[in-house]
């Protein structure tokens, strides 16, 4: 699956292409990504997840064609 990252996360050498069995939940994906990068705080508690451009909670399931993005709290305006 392809994963998008924005903001400061892009500077942490994130994994853009991640091999995983689907479906899985956002929470499960977070854990796996943190394990893979050997940084348990890579995606910390403040990091948000959007699936198909909508912010979701960790219990949401990701399916094969979903667009997944992780990003820090937003600072627009």
């Amino acid at each position: 699956m392809k994963i998008l990252y924005f903001g400061a996360l892009k500077e942490k050498n994130p994994i853009y292409d991640f091999a995983s069995e689907l479906p899985l939940t956002v929470g499960q994906l977070r854990l796996k990504l943190n394990q893979q990068t050997s940084d348990i705080d890579f995606l910390d508690a403040k990091t948000l997840c959007a699936v198909n451009q909508e912010i979701v909670k960790d219990n949401i399931t990701i399916n094969a064609d979903d667009e997944v993005a992780f990003f820090p709290p937003m600072t627009g305006g």
């Binding site: 959007a50 451009q53 820090p72 709290p73 600072t75």
Partner: protein, 150 residues
């Protein structure tokens, strides 16, 4: 009318106000807000870079404008938000709300702007002589957004 633009180039406030007024001759109040870059650092040498999540940005801003149009009697809203590298005093964002009477336009403009500060997918990075620094959400902005949903 809902107009949302995400762009690198600057906007012309007068032009956008005139365009929104032309939408309807029942518009009696036009409220506009401009956000601009505060001094990035004391020496004057520094800039602000804005990143965004294309398509999601336009989608969430359009959604919040539609919410504003349902809460108040708003006839037209324009939001233009710049991205890319900006310098001190540069324009960042323009929000214009037009209604028959002024109270609705004032409230809608503030509502949309409070949303943009914390819930629209933009991220700001300051660059100065000390290096790069990603800005973080602040409590004031979060409280301003929350007050509309209490």
């Amino acid at each position: 009318m809902v107009k949302v633009r995400i762009q690198t180039e600057d906007f012309n406030i007068n032009t956008e106000v005139e365009k929104i007024k032309n939408h309807s001759n029942t518009i009696g109040a036009v409220v506009s807000f401009v956000g601009c870059v505060r001094e990035v650092c004391a020496s004057g040498q520094g800039d602000l870079t804005l990143e965004h999540y294309p398509k999601m940005t336009e989608k969430v801003i359009t959604d919040i404008i539609k919410q504003a149009h349902q809460k108040w009697q708003i006839q037209a809203t324009t939001v233009i938000h710049r991205v890319g590298k900006l310098a001190t005093s540069d324009n960042i964002v323009l929000v214009i709300c037009a209604s028959k009477h002024r109270q609705d336009a004032f409230l809608a403009c503030e509502f949309v702007m409070d949303f943009l500060k914390t819930n629209a997918p933009f991220w700001k990075k300051e660059t100065n002589q000390q290096g790069n620094h990603w800005l973080e959400t602040n409590k004031t902005d979060q409280q301003a957004h929350n007050k509309w949903h209490d």
